[in-house]
């Protein structure tokens, strides 16, 4: 037996942070970063490390909490996905000026592709804008090591440090030898210094000067300098790569047999790029190819444009993930190899994601289209974005925007003398995250729309993390509960009702009643409350086979198109719908959907 254990990239990052003495960690879940915080909690419990670990209400709050711990001298970290960094960018840019006394790491996970995100943005560009150093791991094992290096870097220069993994690091797994713990044995000690911690603009200018000096010094810090994989090779060409693009390139160098001709460098710290490295590249090589995701951060710092190839010269595609196939083609061209016939790429597409069998969001969306046919349906970020399959999601912009967009649609249409029912949907976690300010705004402005809060009591899409309404903390501990109805009413909403959407006929009636209120009196809120089916009633569980479809089914397809439950399968040969017993969870909502009444609750759990 080996001592090495399988760690997912996020698990490895968590391990690296806890090993290095991280005392405070906060996060808001988002793919591909979600597993970092739950992993931190697991490692600290396993090894009895005393920490404050929390799922914060959003990324801005998470960053502010962890940052503040780092100005008391403790080591702290915050984790998020790249669009979460947008939310947290305000405190980050300011924190860069003020600096830290304890180590502070911002983990921002990017998603080139994108696989599960709104954008392909490169967090390293935001690090550059904020003037904070950023580390770019190429594997789970390196991500673990760089978490520790990041703390040392942060404390050596008194700056926040960004650790930027991508999906292919976060969600890769690897055999890793976990290192020993380095307990820090520190006490929180906040030294008052208003000229720094509460700096006015006059002091900010000085802090900015100091930050620039730090960045210049970090560009010469040996521990994060680029590493050459084949230093003894005489070459007139070089490849500088970072992140998983480096991992692909390293493997391809062997396969293509170009290790004896082209120098390969791993850039661990893309910003600030080491000044000595830039000089070395330009002094030594005639042509330099840069491989990085997803913006030309390294490329733009290599000043001589005549010798650099990359995204800015068209040698590397400007958008999309750098797959090993793409990197193989780029490297072949750069090495002057004749193009080899490659097999066709794996196809995209296939079965689209859908809401789970038994998911109450499906009931809500079906009811919304019944109650407000022809309406406009702004929605938001979460599982329920999949309401797009039911024709009940018209817009998705960013966290919380369903509510502001509903208001925006109302004002625009009213100006044009048009009347339209607007029904917005937002999940409970997203509502707490970014829904409250736009709801207050809508009440103040007298907006007319119905907001349905899809309250399944969890942050489902990212792996069922708790919400402020759950009463459970990141480590399973009991927390205070924020009352959603009270919160909605406190925002000034006068019509606020709670109902179970799976009671379909009653729920449709309630939505119609709410829309009457909306048309005359303004914003109304219905909280559609039913726990996530993933938590309470997994598919293929005890409800399996509880639903039957009788001979009355005439194959009209209404249930398949409008209700879109994956357990309802249209049998082309028989021209009728049948139940897929492998995945039906027996929720029974479809019984109310069939116009012919052909779907019935079965008498036993045995039929399938």
């Amino acid at each position: 037996m080996s001592d090495r254990i399988l760690m997912q990239g996020n698990d490895a990052i968590a391990r690296g942070l806890v090993e290095a003495g991280c005392a405070v960690a906060a996060s808001y879940p988002g793919t591909p970063a979600s597993e970092i915080l739950s992993s931190i909690d697991r490692w600290r419990k396993k090894h009895g490390v005393k920490m404050h670990v929390e799922w914060a209400v959003n990324e801005k709050v998470a960053l502010e909490i962890a940052y503040t711990a780092a100005i008391t001298g403790l080591r702290a970290a915050v984790g998020m996905k790249q669009v979460g960094l947008n939310v947290a960018s305000d405190p980050l840019l300011s924190a860069a000026y003020l600096g830290v006394t304890g180590g502070f790491i911002v983990v921002s996970a990017d998603d080139p592709g994108p696989h599960s995100s709104q954008t392909e943005q490169d967090s390293r560009l935001l690090a550059m804008m904020a003037k904070v150093p950023v580390l770019d791991p190429s594997s789970p094992a390196q991500a673990m090591t760089l978490a520790g290096t990041g703390f040392d870097l942060s404390e050596s220069f008194g700056v926040p440090v960004m650790l930027r993994p991508t999906t292919r690091v976060c969600h890769a797994s690897q055999d890793i030898d976990a290192g020993p713990f380095r307990p820090q044995a520190r006490e929180a000690r906040f030294v008052k210094d208003p000229a720094r911690w509460a700096a006015t603009p006059a002091f900010r200018r000085k802090l900015h000067d100091r930050l620039s000096e730090k960045i210049a010094a970090i560009a010469a810090w040996p521990a994060t300098a680029p590493v050459c994989m084949n230093p003894d090779v005489p070459a007139r060409k070089a490849v500088a790569a970072s992140g998983v693009a480096f991992a692909h390139a390293r493997e391809l160098f062997d396969e293509l047999g170009i290790s004896d001709r082209i120098a390969l460098y791993q850039v661990v710290q893309p910003y600030p790029l080491h000044a000595g490295f830039i000089e070395h590249l330009l002094r030594t090589y005639a042509e330099i190819l840069v491989l990085e995701e997803s913006a030309p951060v390294i490329e733009m710092q290599v000043a001589d444009r005549r010798r650099v190839r990359g995204r800015m010269t068209g040698a590397v595609p400007e958008t999309g993930e750098l797959s090993p196939e793409i990197i193989g083609r780029i490297l072949s061209r750069f090495a002057g190899l004749s193009a080899r016939a490659e097999p066709p790429p794996a196809a995209e597409g296939g079965r689209r994601p859908t809401l789970c069998p038994g998911c109450a969001h499906r009931s809500s969306f079906y009811a919304i289209r019944k109650a407000a046919p022809g309406g406009i349906y702004p929605s938001d970020i979460g599982c329920y974005t999949l309401g797009i399959n039911l024709g009940a999601v018209d817009t998705v912009l960013c966290m919380g925007a369903a509510i502001s967009q509903a208001a925006g649609f109302d004002y625009a249409h009213r100006l044009s003398g048009k009347t339209v029912d607007i029904v917005a949907t937002i999940g409970d976690s997203t509502f707490y995250h970014a829904g409250i300010p736009p709801l207050i705004d809508a009440v103040v402005q007298g907006a007319r729309f119905l907001l349905v809060i899809l309250d399944n009591g969890t942050t489902a899409m990212t792996g069922n993390q708790p919400t402020p309404g759950t009463g459970i903390g990141a480590g399973g501990e009991t927390t205070s509960i924020v009352d959603m109805e009270g919160l909605v009413r406190a925002c000034g909403v006068r019509f606020c009702r709670v109902a179970n959407p799976d009671r379909l006929p009653e729920f449709v009636a309630l939505l119609k009643e709410a829309l009457v209120h909306v048309r005359s009196l303004g914003v109304a809120v219905v909280i559609a409350r039913q726990p996530c089916a993933m938590v309470t009633r997994p598919a293929g569980g005890e409800g399996r086979g509880a639903i039957v479809i009788t001979e009355e089914c005439n194959g009209c397809g209404h249930c398949v198109e409008r209700f879109e439950c994956p357990a309802l399968v249209f049998d082309e040969a028989a021209n009728r719908v049948r139940i897929d017993g492998m995945i039906c969870n027996g929720c029974g909502v479809c019984v109310h959907v069939c116009p012919l009444g052909a779907i019935h609750p079965g008498s036993s759990g045995e039929e399938a």
């Binding site: 080996s2 090495r4 793919t31």
Partner: protein, 194 residues
């Protein structure tokens, strides 16, 4: 640059792609195989699908044993493609190397074109008949292990069915009903593949 450890890991250097849809347990069997590799002293790299795709959409995992750097399998390089949802063959067939194995959960062996060794088992029907629809993944894996085996020269797995069985027992720790159910599903597949 140290040349790759091809020689060192020899016949245990393998690239495997596992394909299915969200909820079928692709992730579980990927990790199970990865842990089996580690127990056998093999370095391993795997890549998983998370996020929205897990809601019933296409899920694909890559697994590489024996000294690789990239977590992804390139098209035309997989020794083995394990498919839990037959309709995915059209998507992920290009990963297979010439002469690679395709093991699929299907009532009859599909036509996967030339240069592919195909093995099929109706794992859905088997699992449903035993009342374990959630264990289709282990039934198919057991079948694949038994049918293809671990032969360092002719492709196939980097490990034996017995080694996976041991890894499954370790993973499920204390045991109880859950372990015996999982082992039963794996054994069911092994029995049909032998």
């Amino acid at each position: 640059m140290e040349s790759d450890s091809r020689g060192k890991w020899g016949g245990l250097r393998r690239q495997i792609v596992l394909s299915g849809v969200g909820g079928q347990g692709i992730l579980f069997i990927t990790r199970l195989l990865a842990e089996t590799a580690i127990a056998g002293g093999l370095p391993v790299l795997a890549s998983e699908t998370h996020g929205m795709a897990q809601r019933g959409g296409v899920v694909v995992s890559h697994l590489k044993t024996g000294g690789f750097h990239s977590p992804l399998v390139r098209t035309g390089r997989a020794d083995l493609l394990i498919v839990l949802k037959e309709e995915n063959i059209v998507l992920h067939r290009p990963f297979l190397a010439d002469g690679g194995f395709l093991v699929v959960n299907a009532p009859a062996p599909p036509d996967a074109g030339p240069g592919v060794r195909v093995h099929a088992i109706d794992a859905d029907a088997l699992a449903l008949s035993r009342g374990i629809p959630q264990a289709v993944n282990l039934v198919l894996l057991g079948f694949a292990l038994a049918r293809i085996g671990c032969d360092g020269t002719a492709g196939g797995f980097f490990c034996t069915a017995g080694e996976v069985r041991e890894a499954l027992s370790r993973r499920q720790g204390a045991g109880g009903a859950r372990l015996s159910g999982s082992l039963a599903a794996l054994d069911l597949g092994i029995a049909h593949g032998s």
